[in-house]
């Protein structure tokens, strides 16, 4: 068991390495020849809403927070955790996690200080929990934090988290990762009634290699080296986030070296950027996956099974009938990886599962066998129900719209009647209150994306029966396919309560197999994390499966000219 895990890890590490190599991308600067000083200008299209990261909904805000605050545990290449603000990763072996999995003890570094020089203590950890879970909290999500019953602080360096029940994702959700593990300074925020409305939202106090010095609305956010930083001193003097809302202009500015680095590029931009002189592109598979959501219930009456899609043979035929690799080659210039599921870039991936091959003959045979016979009009039907489906996606998304047309044709070829029905994103992705199409499950097939929100592989929100939204009794939840079995529910609960990582991995692999065998969704491709930087910028690493990974070790960024 142990050795298989190591293999999986080294595989991931190889992916990182390959990703950097194949693109000639920036590689980690371990050579020691880093120059000190200089400024990097990062181009972003969306201005952060707030820099209070737990209330923010925008990526750039979270990039900046990765630079100004250090998580208790951080992610290293290979997606392992290493202690950062904490002195060690809590495990059952070192006593950090109690036998029943309900008590987690974290030791903080003595030397850690906030940017104003005040020491970071366990009281800050307790304060963070209280703030996020308060009744009037502005936090977007309290996932993980809501499992804490109390936080004890026996001394300034020790925080003891007591959970209401064993929760395996605790370490990776609350203590680490992109979203968690960052503490709030009690000494500046204790008397603040609403953090989003305070100065902290515009100029937060952090404990990372950089600190925010200025935010000019609509124009830029300036970060400087935090001279009081307790860890590795940042090489750069300054990092400026320049807001340039038009993507075309943003790319032109990168080419002209008005900008040094752009992180949120799409697959469609990569060719253009690769051909630009003096710009280096680094890519890695991201945690976001494009997929075809399949509705197991009738969109007209969600209490009933879907007249066509509830049949496993139909779903299998769809899987065999769509040439997904062809979509990637034809529409994305082959620049993306065919996806199996949302775990396929993590060490939790069940490598026995291979993508369904493109095999229209098998698709037809499967449908024939299941009694879906071809009628006079070329469209299949079973018991008088025609194989007619709506294929939905977000209008205006060119990649999805192109794929949609190809999928329509390929499914027609095996006897489906596919009607395209698209909605603008505002309507498609709205919540129940605004009659959202996705949340209200008013679709047959929906081409869009999802992804694990962080490091942890827990897929509960996508597949548990309690996560099926219906807009009447349950407004939240991400199981929009409505697929559920009691075995699946049990496994989902079991992996949450299993602290042992090896055992947990096995359960998660079983879950993947159920999703795969039932074709509960048809995954299309892993989206890429794409970072393009001017050649003078060095030390930028992009990790697979982690959004924003480029901003996780900015203290190692440097510029060759020192300017």
């Amino acid at each position: 068991m142990r050795s298989s895990r190591i293999t999986a890890l080294s595989l991931v590490a190889m992916v990182v390495f390959a990703a950097c190599q194949s693109s000639g991308g920036p590689t980690p600067s371990s050579s020691g020849a880093t120059k000190q000083g200089g400024t990097i200008i990062v181009g972003i299209t969306d201005e952060p809403d707030t820099l209070y990261q737990y209330a923010s909904r925008q990526f750039p805000s979270f990039y900046i927070n990765l630079m100004i605050s250090t998580p208790l545990l951080r992610v290293t290449p290979g997606n392992r955790l290493e202690p950062y603000l904490a002195t060690e990763v809590p495990t059952s072996a070192n006593g950090g996690i109690s036998a029943d999995g309900k008590t987690i003890t974290v030791k903080l570094r003595k030397e850690a200080v906030w940017e104003d020089g005040v020491p970071v203590t366990s009281k800050d950890a307790a304060f963070t929990w209280r703030t996020l879970t308060a009744k009037t909290s502005a936090a977007t999500s309290t996932l993980g934090w809501d499992r804490i019953a109390s936080v004890e602080t026996p001394d300034d360096q020790t925080a003891v988290f007591r959970l209401t029940q064993a929760y395996a994702p605790f370490v990776s959700v609350v203590l680490a990762g992109q979203f968690g593990g960052r503490l709030l300074p009690e000494h500046t925020l204790a008397s603040v009634a609403d953090i989003t409305k305070s100065d902290f939202a515009r100029k937060p106090i952090g404990n990372g290699p950089f600190r925010v010095v200025d935010w000019v609305s609509g124009d830029r956010i300036t970060l400087e080296r935090n001279t009081k930083f307790w860890g590795e001193r940042a090489s750069l003097d300054k990092v400026i986030f320049k807001i340039s809302p038009d993507r075309n202009v943003l790319l032109a500015q990168l080419k002209s070296k008005d900008l040094d680095l752009v992180a949120d590029l799409t697959e469609a931009n990569t060719e253009d950027m690769r051909s630009a002189s003096g710009v280096t592109v680094a890519t890695a598979a991201s945690s976001i996956i494009e997929l075809l959501n399949i509705n197991f219930n009738s969109p007209d009456d969600l209490t009933k099974p879907h007249p066509v899609l509830a049949d496993l043979a139909v779903r299998q035929a769809i899987a065999y009938g769509i040439n997904r690799q062809g979509l990637i080659d034809g529409i994305l210039f082959g620049k993306a990886k065919l996806a199996v599921n949302e775990q396929d870039n993590t060490r939790y991936f069940n490598t026995d599962l291979k993508p369904y091959p493109f095999d229209p003959a098998k698709a037809k045979a499967t449908l024939d066998q299941a009694g879906w016979t071809v009628g006079a009009n070329g469209i299949r039907a079973k018991n008088g129900v025609p194989a007619r489906l709506q294929l939905t996606t977000s209008s205006g998304n060119k990649i999805r719209e192109s794929m949609q047309v190809v999928i329509q044709q390929q499914l027609k070829d095996i006897g489906f009647d596919i009607v395209l029905k698209n909605y603008p994103p505002a309507e498609l992705f709205a919540g129940c209150a605004a009659n959202g199409i996705k949340q209200g499950r008013k679709f047959d097939l929906l081409l869009d994306s999802f992804g694990l929100p962080g490091l942890d592989p827990d897929p509960t929100s996508f597949w548990r029966s309690t996560q099926i939204p219906d807009c009447k009794t349950r407004l939240a939840g991400s199981n929009r396919s409505g697929f559920t079995t009691s075995e699946l529910d049990q496994l989902l609960d079991a992996q949450l309560a299993t602290a042992d990582d090896t055992k947990r991995t096995e359960i998660i692999k079983q879950i993947q197999k159920i999703i795969y065998d039932n074709v509960a969704a048809l995954y299309v491709y892993d989206r890429l994390s794409i970072v393009a930087a001017a050649d003078r910028v060095k030390g930028v690493t992009v990790l697979p499966g982690l959004s924003g990974s480029a901003f996780m070790d900015t203290e190692r960024w440097w510029v060759t000219d020192g300017k």
Binding site: E47, A252, F429
Partner: protein
């Protein structure tokens, strides 16, 4: 004076009506919680807490009433997305929009007036046709396309071949301190785009009315008295010809506040148009409402001002 007062008083119910319709329309435009719903980390409890926090769990008429009652107290509310007061967010962007729009507007007039005069005086000449063609091109040119083209040529290509180039976006230099000279440099292209596109209607209006005026009896009389064409044109004809233009110009002023969205977007200008666009994308009701209210007030006010200016320019018009 009494007239102005009456017009302003009449505007109040109008504004209340506008605000209600706009409020309803914005509510129908999207769901501020859609961002959260699509985050798999959000639990049902999180959603309920956020609805409560934003006050969107109440019926629409209650929300409207709450919004109006805080407005009466001079409070435009708080942005859902940023947590900042809407008034402060708007005031942070308004001056930038006025700098850009104002410069563009003045430039547009400075270009339009001489062109219209040449066009009207030498009507149906080659020059007239050239100007007419140019103004139609100006009418038809999309701002984003022109903006991108200018950036490509004057920022990127010029720099590539070693000519003095213009900054491709923003309001101030990123690597140095903000300066007035830097501001002017950053202003040239976006203000130029606004001027080019907006001068077109001005030229058309002024040309038409000038041609009208030049046919009037009093102009012939002026010529008959032996006045030079220059004096006839500038002292007698132009002032009267400018009357319809004044109305057009007044009607365009509210545009400066929010109508430069496209130009602000392309040139990364931190103005109010962009703030509106971002708020629309974020379904940030309070900010959208604040900006629309401000624009509505200015539209109504400018209509009143246009009428007054009209009377002042043209003594034949009297308001009782």
């Amino acid at each position: 004076m009494g007239y102005v007062l009456r017009r302003v008083t009449q505007a109040i119910p109008l504004l209340i009506g506008i605000s209600f319709v706009v409020f309803l329309l914005i509510r129908l435009s999207g769901d501020p919680l859609s961002f959260y719903v699509n985050d798999p980390r959000i639990t049902a409890e999180d959603l309920a807490r956020l609805e409560e926090r934003f006050g969107v769990n109440q019926p629409v008429h209650v929300q409207y009433f709450l919004w109006v009652s805080s407005l009466v107290r001079g409070d435009l509310g708080t942005s859902f997305a940023t947590g900042q007061p809407v008034g402060a967010m708007i005031m942070g962007r308004l001056p930038n929009s006025l700098i850009l729009g104002g410069t563009g507007f003045v430039l547009a007039l400075a270009m339009a007036i001489p062109l219209a005069i040449i066009s009207a005086v030498r009507r149906y000449s080659v020059r007239d046709y050239a100007i007419t063609t140019l103004t139609f091109i100006g009418y038809a040119t999309p701002a984003f396309w022109l903006g991108l083209l200018l950036i490509l040529v004057f920022s990127l290509k010029f720099r590539e071949i070693g000519l003095p180039s213009l900054p491709p976006g923003g309001m101030y230099d990123l690597r140095g301190d903000p300066s007035f000279a830097g501001l002017i440099q950053h202003l040239i292209m976006p203000a130029g785009v606004i001027a080019l596109i907006h001068s077109a209607p001005f030229v058309r209006y002024l040309r038409a009315s000038l041609m009208d005026v030049l046919r009037q009896d009093y102009v012939r009389t002026a010529y008959a008295k032996g006045l030079t064409p220059r004096v006839v044109l500038y002292r007698h004809a132009l002032k009267n010809a400018a009357i319809p233009l004044a109305t057009v110009v007044m009607a365009q002023i509210p545009y400066l506040l929010g109508g430069t969205i496209v130009v602000e977007q392309v040139f990364a200008w931190p103005g109010m148009g962009r703030l509106f666009w971002e708020s629309a994308v974020r379904v940030d009701y309070p900010v959208m409402m604040g900006i629309l209210l401000l624009v509505s007030v200015v539209v109504v006010l400018m209509n009143v001002v246009a009428d007054v200016v009209y009377a002042w320019l043209d003594p034949r018009i009297h308001f009782a």
